[in-house]
Symmetry: C2
Subunit: 118 residues, 2 copies
């Protein structure tokens, strides 16, 4: 699970934020752009945004799959798929509790998303 290498650096401080008045930054290289894009892609889906917002508004920012499935109105395999995508992107973490799986937000990772366009 490689996670972000590029995102650790100065990139985070506004890779594509508003221009004039802000300090000039070098354009993104292809690899940098691909890494940012893969993070954004993980989040650029209606179902996944809903899942994130539901988990966010839950206690402790964590929720069980059994609650998420009826909340988004998609099939259980589909929800499982989306949760996997979000977890692989580092936006969620997974914890097994007995027979059920709980997913929790990773605030630092969401901060990174926000700062791409800061």
């Amino acid at each position: 699970m490689a996670q972000s290498v590029v995102l650790e650096g100065a990139l985070l401080e506004g890779a594509i934020g508003k221009c004039c008045g802000a300090p000039v930054r070098a354009p993104l290289t292809r690899p940098e752009a691909e890494e940012l894009a893969s993070l954004l892609k993980a989040v650029a889906d209606p179902a996944r945004l809903q899942l994130l917002s539901i988990i966010r508004s839950a206690a402790d920012c964590s929720a069980c799959v059994c609650d998420l499935v009826p909340a988004v109105g998609l099939s259980q395999p589909t929800v499982s798929h989306h949760l996997k995508v979000l977890t692989k992107a580092g936006v969620l973490t997974r914890e097994q509790r007995g027979t059920q799986a709980w997913f929790r937000l990773v605030p630092e990772r969401l901060d990174q998303l926000g700062q791409i366009f800061a």
Copy 2:
């Protein structure tokens, strides 16, 4: 060009930001999530992120297609396609100057992107 209706409201003030400590917000509805996703999708592509970053680092936050094509190393039709996507999403505006087309960043729209995860 409908642009955002939902994005105008309270949604913008951190739709999916970090949880605990922040005020509780209602989960996104499907239509809301779809609107946010369509904006994010427009930006969640390596070529388009590169284009945005190049334009951002240019004078006046605007650039000509003739400069963008060699800068990203893709074919002219492909670049034209990406610029259209970004323009349709409201992230860029297009201006015709003689035979060439200039594209400029829309800072307010980028701010909206940043605030989704604020």
